[in-house]
Symmetry: C2
Subunit: 290 residues, 2 copies
């Protein structure tokens, strides 16, 4: 199970071609063929069907393992390398759109910051591999409850903010006048599924049961403005942290009172914080404590 073999395996599976994978990896087609043969012999089972090239059942399973495995490997290498190298001057911050609340924005230093918006699931990986110095992830959680993050590497997380979550309803919605909403009131509603821009709905799923959250429209972009516009136009409900629900024309934000969920933002970083990253982390965490 040499990582090199694993790497060629995943590229072969991705490209569905031995020769293409060889080109991409800088090997000859022969070498790739031998890699796969070696892996299959090592594991005692065929991993790919040939012609067309497609993973077998065992191959599918291996693919599920291989991604995180190679990611961790990269993360480990990057992490140790980072310790030896000098601290850079710039500061790169990996964030989700909804993780950048007003308080966080205020804490950013005046210059020298690069913001990198990523999907929620990619932020730990970015921090682990050193693509970002710090990460800000957000999500729904029970009050003072840590978020569930994929652990690609030994990372440190600490909460930096918690605020109420609101349901964004069109102004004309029958429930828009309510002071607070229970999720149970909304079993018949349709939701906006916007994994890139909004908050993930899976937390609502677990709270209300699998069938309870039905999605009306899926938005694959990362723009919050679009999301709120869609919500105002009645294409579906969405949940957002309170500070993101002010000034949305045509829509009303009603706090979600049950289940007791908060919008939680966590700062995540690798081992040793140095330079401007340390200062920002200090700034962000000192108020919240947690």
């Amino acid at each position: 199970m040499d990582p090199h073999l694993l790497r060629t395996y995943v590229t072969v599976a991705r490209l569905a071609s031995f020769s293409e994978a060889a080109r991409e990896l800088g090997y000859t087609q022969s070498a790739v063929s031998q890699h796969i043969a070696g892996l299959e012999q090592d594991l005692g089972a065929p991993l790919l069907t040939r012609r067309p090239v497609r993973p077998t059942a065992a191959g599918e399973r291996l693919l599920e393992h291989a991604g995180p495995l190679l990611l961790r490997l990269d993360a480990a290498r990057a992490d140790v390398l980072r310790m030896a190298s000098a601290p850079e001057h710039g500061l790169t911050l990996a964030v989700t759109p909804t993780a950048l609340g007003p308080r966080t924005v205020a804490a950013l230093p005046a210059a020298g910051v690069t913001l990198r918006a990523l999907a929620r699931a990619d932020i730990p990986a970015a921090v682990a591999t050193g693509a970002a110095d710090l990460g800000l992830v957000d999500g729904l959680a029970a009050p003072s409850d840590p978020l569930r993050l994929p652990d690609v590497a030994p990372l440190t997380t600490c909460g930096v903010a918690e605020e109420p979550v609101c349901v964004l309803l069109p102004a004309a919605h029958p429930l828009a006048r309510r002071p607070g909403l229970r999720l149970a009131d909304l079993v018949d509603a349709r939701w906006l599924d916007a994994p890139g821009a909004g908050l993930p709905l899976d937390r609502l799923h677990t709270a209300v049961g699998a069938g309870g959250v039905r999605t009306a429209l899926r938005y694959e972009g990362t723009d919050l403005r679009t999301l709120t516009t869609l919500a105002a136009a009645g294409h579906g409900l969405t949940v957002l942290p309170h500070s993101f629900t002010t000034d949305v024309p045509g829509a009303v934000a009603v706090p979600l009172v049950a289940p007791r969920l908060v919008h939680r933002t966590e700062l995540i970083h690798g081992g040793a914080l140095r330079g401007p990253a340390a200062a920002l982390a200090q700034e962000l965490t000192e108020r919240h404590g947690d």
Copy 2:
């Protein structure tokens, strides 16, 4: 970053000796020395001090990565190998002491089961590497909230039981007559820290703040009877699922009403369930649903 090099690195670090590690791994001392040198050259930083042999700062960091990494690697190999081999007859179940509630015990088949009691953190690893067919892990969580498990491999989890948690108090304790307890009532109390037998206290930590849960006595065994005896004798409080708190002489169990936590048990398994493992998993999950 060859896994072989990583493996010799961790054994050298563990044994604090090149020669000892060589003996354990079946290499010559020379080979081990070359492995470490290769790794250090690859990463561009010394990983170990010699005489005495001890990890450097970068080495410590690498150690944190190496364990999970090698574990995942083993898990991947075992998982794929399992798909190719025939299903065995026996059924091995990895459990924590408090995960085996009365309903779970009732569902076990009459014969052919091996129970393996492990530390909470080792159960995912055992299931991932195939040391056990199924795992039962428990812990404290918000109602209908999944547990936080270390992800060593792509595993499937599903809830099988939730029940109230109780605080076990000596019968003479001033709060023993209360119908229910809030964690806030217990800020002055001392706790039993029993990671092997009882439930982990870290969940209480997050609920009440870092300083709020102070431990009086640490018990490193895995025997629940000892734990309840210690609690009854006033050596500290402990939290247990309700069904484990009946018939404890000299102690009274009072439900914990705030924060809203339940004792949750989850079944965890690898990819494809076959043979008796599938039957048991079916039996355990069909009632609870989740």
